[in-house]
Symmetry: C2
Subunit: 375 residues, 2 copies
């Protein structure tokens, strides 16, 4: 069965990108590949809206998070982690693995952080030098206002490190203008490329952050990446095929126009929420991101039964909840090259599942989607 992915990533790969993966791959120490890597790096800078640096790593997003930690934290730094889900908590776990004792601002899962509260924490503790946050929290579907967070951090001269794994290519993002020091991302989300490539970016003013006494670092040592970058190289063998694929995906975004890409994701996310609510689901997060729609099922329905029926009957793969949300929510991903037709498809299938599991059809779904169809 040909399964369709509506997962919170890895996302469905566009055929244009898949095609590139089947091309014979150049060696990475050739002028041909060096030029490709330069173009990809430039495209990534455009996407981050930064004049700084973007480094490409062979790793998953967690590898890029670890790179951000080991390259920016010194023994005297004190981190504040904003944790409102599995990925926020991962910042704390990585920091702890490296012997740091992060202050954790626990945000209720599904809620977004109060920037005012972050400000109070920073004001109350002058020893906090680094803030680790998540833009789009994939485990809860919540969006955190990293623009305001950056303002709060800049104002107090604290460094902000943002996990933008499921927001780049989905939400408007302005690293330099908003004042975000460090951003990490992964290939398999809004970038529409298979997993295995991750990035760390440094804003122009944050270049010095990676110098000095740091925890042990070798594979993720960004000083090595920085030395290789002007040559169109990476410190260690890059994931060549994924770099070529990313070049194609970035070309697709450029052709569509980045503003259009963001606007399309906004419409798809709203359409998904509207349709799901019309069928009887409740949107879980208070401030939902446009990457993933997290839903509470209609009262009494088991999310895993819906996930299973979607897969077995409709050939659609969505995700359930993780950690404390396991068995409670459903997560429908719509990052990448989806259109409103795809939302019709997944919403129709969701409704069929609900009806098959004993709920009445409401007939309100199509009308709910239609409001978000304007081109």
């Amino acid at each position: 069965m040909n399964l369709r992915l509506f997962t919170p990533g890895p996302v469905e790969i566009p055929p244009r990108v898949l095609r590139v993966l089947a091309w014979p791959q150049p060696h990475h120490r050739t002028s041909e590949f060096r030029a490709t890597l330069q173009r990809v790096t430039d495209g990534l800078k455009e996407l981050h809206r930064t004049q700084g640096e973007v480094f490409v790593l062979a790793a998953s997003g967690t590898g890029a998070m670890e790179a951000a930690v080991v390259n920016t934290m010194s023994r005297s730094d004190k981190p504040l982690v904003i944790a409102g889900g599995k990925f926020g908590e991962r910042w704390a776990a990585i920091l702890k693995a490296y012997g740091f004792a992060p202050d954790v601002l626990d945000v209720e899962w599904g809620k977004s952080v109060s920037v005012a509260e972050v400000g109070r924490r920073l004001d109350a503790d002058a020893s906090i030098t680094r803030v680790f946050a998540t833009h789009s929290e994939t485990s809860t579907g919540a969006l955190h206002d990293v623009r305001e967070l950056a303002r709060a951090c800049r104002m107090r001269q604290r460094v902000l490190v943002v996990d933008a794994v499921t927001s780049l290519g989905v939400h408007p993002f302005e690293q330099d203008a908003w004042g975000i020091d460090v951003v990490v991302c992964g290939s398999q989300k809004g970038l529409m490329v298979p997993p295995g490539l991750a990035t760390v970016s440094l804003a122009p003013w944050a270049a010095g952050l990676i110098e000095g006494e740091r925890p042990p670092r070798f594979y993720f040592d960004l000083r090595k990446a920085r030395k290789s970058a002007p040559l169109g190289e990476t410190a260690f063998t890059p994931p060549v095929g994924l770099v070529l694929a990313l070049e194609e995906a970035l070309a697709m975004m450029r052709e569509e126009g980045l503003d259009h890409v963001h606007e399309r994701h906004r419409r798809l996310a709203h359409a998904t929420r509207a349709a799901a609510q019309a069928i009887g689901f409740t949107v879980f997060p208070a401030h939902p991101a446009h990457a993933v729609t997290a839903l509470l099922p209609p009262e009494g329905l088991d999310p895993s039964a819906i996930v299973k029926r979607l897969r077995d009957t409709h050939g659609i793969v969505i995700a359930g909840g993780q950690d404390s949300l396991k068995g409670r929510i459903l997560r429908v991903g719509h990052m990448g090259h989806y259109t409103l037709a795809d939302i019709q498809l997944v919403a129709g299938a969701l409704e069929e599942c609900v009806v098959a599991l004993g709920r009445p059809a409401t007939g309100a779904r199509t009308a709910a989607i239609s409001g978000w169809s304007s081109e």
Copy 2:
């Protein structure tokens, strides 16, 4: 121009494997992908000849080397590094980055380590607990006798960690029978898959090595990998496409028969050396590996001129030397799915370059290759 790769890796990817990369990719948390990962892991165990564990990481080979260091070294361990080239020296660099002070046994580049000397070092210093070695040293083309090395280590109850990045799938390898505790490998060499996937294996008796007080580790923490493995999962998002590609590459090796694969590499390597010598090159290493042939050019010829002409005139990419061998040697890779026809092709092109650069043709090349053609 369609370039042919005869590089020391990333190698030319077989069309069968490229084709798989263009397939729609399953989500990694599905029974379909879990079954794939289990099959790939079993195939890797076959390749290592181990009944132990093989963990798949999203990283380059250096990431796997770092994983081996951070999972096996405690503060009280003292490492001995056998360094006879760039990759042997990398073990020392990683260990130093983590605060260890390795004893380094410097082997002249191009030579292979004397196991007797290792034995003397181990006998002279009982505090050495770990030995880090390279099987096929890609920078010099030299093969180290890890079988005898393992015997020397086992006899003295020292742990042996081997970089088999360019030997697995090329040379016979018997992790359990030879007694090698830990082995690291990467996808882009004998495994015939694009770069971005790396592995660490632990022999059955070495399972406990990764437990206990260790340097900071998170992304490369093999305890996490071990927890996920029985579920057919990896600790973090795996490089899904590369795992599918590796399944195909392992199937190709199984169809050919692993013994045949090794024997074919032996013939190709001997044919390459014979042809190169007939043209006037000198084989650089004393005990050459079958992965890469490192050559000194005929007296007075500049290796980089040969690399350039091979590329510009013949569409063939080979590599020059690295670090202290830069500008001194040429390296011709023949790992993967090459046949004797490919060796004819690269040898013919090498001869053309030599003649074009002013040396006489000897006519001895074809006869030299022909001795290695027996099926």
